[in-house]
């Protein structure tokens, strides 16, 4: 009950964030954005035709009314039809979001799990050659651009110049086997890119916790290493770990897959977002931006609730 009350309060306090995000993106994308009037008209339109199209697009309305319309669309999750394909935006999202999730989930999970494992390993063997090798590899991994990794992995694993194990691009998934073969190269690329950053971050969190006084005291009292590790170190470092994981979820869904999906031609949210950017498809862009903002508010709520579960000293107030 306490959690429910807290959640409702927290969701309301997320409203300013949603208003800010939607307002800035509305001003930039819709108010300064591309004018679609002449794209919908034939050659030599009459002033009446122009006026009619502008009414149809809502351009004749004042700024406040158009922005209020956007908020209403966001509240009802009804964004109308896509400008370029005419498909309903909610149907478009319902079709593409599962694809994006299926595409990014394995890489996201593996990137974080492997990152934490490597970080544990490095932190445990701190300042030995194991640690130094892992951290040097992390810096190398961080220095290779995502773009280079994607293209490089495609050449190595999917093209006829390399191993040719997986399909070069596309997404025609009919069975679980198809799924694995199409998701393999994108997943490897995401994991490769995320691993360096994740390992470094998690290692620094763990090392900071390991050098605390209470850990030294526990060690002096003869707490066995595994218990020391789980109870005194890992549990205390969970808060920054949770924050990092949960807050990267909204952007992983939208931005993270944009490059991969547009490069591999996978019909996910990233791909339709990229297409909408290129063609100035405002209903789609409005939906994507608005939903990302809502995801951020939900992520904030989720981290707060999880903090509570991890650390009993934190109260939800």
């Amino acid at each position: 009950m306490e959690i429910l009350q807290y959640s409702i309060r927290k969701l309301f306090s997320g409203i300013p964030l949603i208003l800010g995000v939607t307002f800035i993106s509305f001003v930039l994308m819709v108010y300064f954005g591309p004018d679609k009037t002449y794209e919908l008209l034939g050659k030599n339109p009459t002033p009446e035709e122009i006026a009619e199209v502008r009414v149809q697009l809502g351009y004749d309305q004042p700024f406040v009314v158009r922005y209020a319309d956007y908020l209403r669309e966001l509240a009802t999750l009804d964004f109308g039809n896509s400008d370029s394909t005419g498909e309903r935006v909610d149907a478009l999202l319902a079709r593409t979001i599962p694809v994006s999730l299926a595409l990014t989930a394995p890489g996201f999970v593996l990137g974080n799990v492997l990152g934490i494992l490597l970080a544990l390993f490095a932190a445990y063997y701190r300042s030995t050659w194991v640690d130094k090798t892992i951290m040097a590899s992390a810096v190398i991994g961080m220095s290779i651009s995502f773009l280079i990794v994607i293209i490089g992995f495609q050449i190595i694993f999917a093209s006829s110049y390399g191993l040719g194990w997986f399909p070069v691009r596309g997404w025609s998934v009919n069975s679980i086997g198809d799924y694995f073969s199409y998701v393999a190269v994108p997943t490897m690329a995401t994991v490769f890119v995320a691993l360096g950053y994740n390992t470094r971050f998690y290692r620094s969190v763990l090392v900071e916790e390991m050098t605390r006084d209470h850990v030294r005291t526990a060690k002096a009292f003869g707490v066995p290493p595994t218990k020391l590790f789980y109870k005194n170190i890992l549990k205390n470092s969970l808060i920054p770990i949770i924050t990092r994981i949960v807050f990267s979820i909204p952007l992983v869904i939208i931005s993270g897959s944009l490059l991969i999906e547009s490069y591999f031609g996978i019909p996910g949210v990233g791909k339709i977002t990229y297409d909408a950017i290129v063609s100035g498809d405002q209903p789609v862009l409005k939906a994507v931006v608005g939903l990302t903002a809502i995801l951020f508010v939900l992520a904030q709520l989720l981290t707060d609730i999880m903090y509570r579960a991890v650390d009993p000293r934190i109260t939800l107030k």
Partner: protein, 291 residues
């Protein structure tokens, strides 16, 4: 006697200690040499001494490596080596502009937000940072590119307006700590105006954080520039590693890798050297950092 005493008692500051520590850090010094080397290349290109023939069509299609064309030629016969060298300038220009301005903006806003933490000013600034962090980056860039009518600086503006939040949050945290110290209280007590306290007494004490943050922003800007140029949202006139990679994405399917490799290797070298330089700088400047 006196001369000996003054020679021995040297003033030890954060900077002299950091300088000493950095000069003993072998990876740091090597990476600094690399960064300076890249910087010289960028300078040479800016002054027109290097790679001024980057856009000339000279050779045949897809020539291999030779003494005239070190990395071969691209699809229409331009010298890949020149293009890759010229792109170093683009990367440096974007990196420097974005890192300097974003860090400066972050410092000022972070200091104000931290100094007035708990008041409505801080609330508003924190809200602004949260909002900017929640807009999908590529969408934001695309929107700014359009709103600025394809100006070549749209990419810079977009990066600056999103990258300052990181520095700002760090500075804010540090200022909250410094605000409670005695010397700030003393400055209050003798009636120093608040703005003077923030910018003369507190902000200079966060310089070490800002310096490290600027190097991190520099790397982030270069990496984003390459991806944005690849997507067609970044560099329009001029050359960039991102544009070279975009060109090469058709070539690699035909089995010609020179363009891709030249851009990748040069970019990797710069980003790697800068990452290591940034790490060494952080080790030298942050006495609390446990490694």
């Amino acid at each position: 006697m006196n001369a000996v005493a003054t020679a021995v008692v040297r003033r030890e500051s954060l900077w002299s200690k950091a300088f000493y520590k950095f000069s003993r850090d072998r990876t740091g010094m090597i990476s600094l040499v690399f960064v300076l080397f890249y910087m010289l290349i960028a300078l040479g290109v800016t002054l027109g001494w290097l790679a001024s023939d980057w856009s000339d069509v000279q050779g045949g299609k897809w020539e291999g490596m030779s003494m005239t064309y070190w990395f071969g030629t691209n699809m229409i016969g331009q010298d890949i080596f020149s293009r890759a060298i010229y792109s170093t300038k683009t990367a440096f220009e974007v990196g420097l502009v974005v890192a300097l301005i974003a860090t400066a903006v972050g410092a000022v806003i972070g200091a104000i937000s931290g100094f007035f933490s708990g008041s409505w000013i801080d609330e508003v600034l924190l809200w602004l940072m949260g909002v900017l962090d929640s807009i999908p980056f590529y969408l934001f860039v695309a929107a700014i590119v359009f709103a600025m009518q394809e100006s070549p600086y749209a990419m810079h503006v977009a990066m600056i307006s999103t990258f300052w939040t990181g520095s700002s949050r760090l500075v804010r945290g540090e200022v909250i700590k410094l605000r409670g110290l005695e010397y700030v209280e003393a400055a209050h007590a003798i009636g120093v105006p608040e703005l003077t306290i923030i910018f003369r007494h507190i902000l200079p004490n966060t310089t070490h954080i800002l310096l490290v943050q600027a190097t991190i922003t520099f790397v982030a800007a270069i990496k984003s520039e390459v991806i944005l140029s690849f997507l067609g949202l970044g560099v329009k006139d001029g050359m960039s590693w991102g544009l070279m990679i975009a060109e090469s994405s058709q070539e690699v399917m035909a089995g010609f890798f020179n363009n891709f490799l030249a851009a990748s290797v040069l970019m990797f070298g710069l980003v790697m050297a800068f990452n290591m330089f940034s790490d060494a700088l952080q080790d030298a400047l942050d006495p609390r950092k446990v490694s």
